[in-house]
């Protein structure tokens, strides 16, 4: 029986882009047990439901866990008001992350959109430690929303696109797919329309998608966060079976 509720002290807080905040949190258990693609379910004072946020990085030696999130509503706004020294109550690490057990892929493509980018950074770092070659495509709304660009460049070739062309290429992530040479596996996280477009364009490639859905429990008990499986036979739970799925496994609508 593991006590999965963890208290995490906020060590650092940084505005890394417009409305986008990075927290470095301290917790030994999570830093030692989290794998790329897993998330934290965060209790926010006064709210009924916890908020899921992906792990953006971990540092086992210092017991540090990094998250990055965008202010989009009540919960993230409140979370953004927390200051270093304060603690947050967290359930996690939750879910099944990216499958990297298969060490065959020698070259992977990471495709991240907006606030879907943080978990891919964690993934990229771990893969690159295993000498996997990384190519990244990162999509943002506009110049002011860009974050982690340099961090991804350190991992390998990185293509940045913005909706309005104010930074990098103008367009959406699929517009630069042609610039990318061959790869073994793709990993993607971002808004559903983006994931859908990628799934179609890369239907001949092996790949994984990380999904979002409104959650209740976050642990697989309430059946709030389901996604239809592609065999049409049922649902998977994003919080427990996912959030990462093989691209062929699920139906995006």
């Amino acid at each position: 029986m593991i006590n999965k509720v963890n208290i995490m002290v906020i060590l650092k807080k940084k505005f890394i882009a417009k409305d986008t905040i990075e927290f470095v949190l301290k917790n030994e258990f999570i830093s030692h047990h989290a794998s790329p693609g897993q998330f934290l379910h965060i209790l926010i004072d006064g709210l009924t439901l916890r908020r899921p946020v992906s792990i953006a990085d971990i540092d086992k030696s210092s017991n540090e866990v990094t998250i990055a999130f965008k202010i989009v509503g009540t919960g993230t706004k409140k979370l953004a008001s927390y200051e270093p020294g304060q603690s947050i109550d967290v359930l996690g690490p939750l879910g099944n992350g990216f499958d990297i057990s298969n060490t065959h892929p020698k070259k992977v493509l990471l495709i991240g959109g907006g606030i879907g980018i943080p978990p891919l950074y964690h993934l990229g770092k771990r893969l690159s430690e295993n000498n996997v070659k990384i190519i990244s495509i990162l999509g943002y709304q506009t110049k002011e929303s860009v974050f982690y660009e340099r961090e991804f460049q350190e991992l390998g070739d990185t293509y940045v696109v913005t909706d309005d062309g104010t930074h990098g290429y103008q367009g959406v992530v699929t517009d630069v797919l042609t610039k990318v040479s061959s790869f073994d596996t793709f990993y993607t996280c971002g808004p559903t329309p983006m994931l859908k477009a990628i799934k179609e364009r890369l239907s001949n490639s092996d790949g994984y998608v990380s999904l979002e859905e409104r959650m209740g429990c976050g642990i697989g008990a309430c059946l709030a966060c389901v996604i239809p499986t592609s065999d049409g036979e049922g649902y998977k739970k994003i919080c427990q079976d996912g959030p990462v799925f093989h691209a062929k496994e699920v139906n995006l609508s």
């Binding site: 029986m1 919960g75 209740g216 429990c217 697989g220 008990a221 309430c222 389901v226 649902y235 427990q240």
Partner: protein, 311 residues
């Protein structure tokens, strides 16, 4: 302090149980705490066949509450008996099977199916789920239909039957009395209130099913009022629920007339809420002068000596 409570079919070490649909079949929460600490577990609603439920989004957050429209997703009664009950039966706790359906025949079928296992201690009849479309009949809002489905189920089951009432009614006492006359062994109240949230960016209801059931602390005053009213008119026991989040809330429900309580939404906020409440209860009872659960039940039902109204 002795927290034990004895209700028809349920000989419980304490009056705390997770509410139906908020705890699955216990598997997930079993990795957080020992389910044997619970008075009972109420399982997710079972239907005759597997149900896939509603499209997503299925939940939304509201002020001090949430909306859900899961739509009774469940693997069907056979699978539940085969795969879920044996898991739960390994724990030292009572098991309540919640049953739902779109027709009286379905309720009958599901209730009867549970006779196959020895491990279920009582049935909870969900005649109040607001999140399913077909069938069309709202068994929970019509006293005659509520009584009919209760009677039908009573005929085919060997187990005590707790009827779970809907709060979306003008006169909950009428429904309670109807199911009591029809043979209900107990009541379970309240289920969720039908609500809706508009999603401004898309200009339509946020929940794919449009409406959802409102639960959480927001509805607690309504639950307390309904239990208080019903308690005075029926003699069968009541399992109370609706917004319970701590041991003080439990005592509030006991005072209003609940004999035991179920905890739903609060599990999502804190997966340890049930054992925490069980641990906290003796102190709270003590603080307000009670020596057992039963002593508190209905103590808040208060009859004025005379009419003090000054109007």
């Amino acid at each position: 302090m002795n927290l034990s409570v004895n209700l028809p079919g349920l000989s419980m070490k304490n009056p705390i149980m997770p509410a139906s649909g908020c705890f699955g079949f216990g598997r997930e929460y079993s990795s957080f705490f020992d389910l044997s600490t619970l008075g009972a577990v109420i399982m997710k609603s079972a239907t005759k066949n597997e149900r896939l439920g509603n499209p997503t989004p299925r939940v939304a957050e509201t002020s001090s509450g949430m909306l859900n429209a899961i739509g009774l997703q469940n693997p069907g009664v056979e699978k539940i008996i085969e795969s879920e009950i044996p898991f739960l039966a390994d724990y030292d706790t009572c098991i309540i099977a919640n049953i739902a359906g779109s027709s009286v025949e379905e309720y009958e079928y599901v209730a009867e199916s549970f006779n196959q296992t020895d491990h279920v201690d009582a049935l909870e009849l969900n005649i109040s789920c607001p999140n399913v479309k077909e069938g069309g009949i709202q068994f929970g809002t019509d006293p005659y239909m509520a009584a009919f489905v209760t009677e039908t189920v009573k005929k085919v089951t060997n187990l005590p039957v707790y009827v779970k009432l809907s709060p979306n009614v003008t006169d909950i006492v009428a429904i309670a009395k109807a199911v009591e006359s029809a043979g209900a062994d107990g009541l379970s109240m309240i289920n969720t209130l039908t609500g809706m949230q508009m999603h401004l960016p898309s200009q339509k209801p946020l929940i794919a099913n449009k409406t959802g059931g409102l639960s959480g602390p927001a509805i607690k005053p309504i639950a307390i009022r309904m239990i208080y009213e019903v308690k005075q008119q029926v003699s069968i026991p009541i399992i109370g629920m609706g917004g319970i989040a701590n041991a003080e809330d439990v005592l509030e429900f006991l005072l209003a007339g609940a004999n035991a309580v179920a905890i739903g939404t609060a599990n999502f906020n804190n997966p340890f809420i049930c054992p925490e409440i069980i641990n906290g209860l003796p102190n709270v009872l003590n603080k307000y002068g009670f020596h057992s659960i039963n002593e508190a039940v209905g103590k808040g039902i208060f009859h004025e000596p005379a009419d003090l109204s000054r109007s």
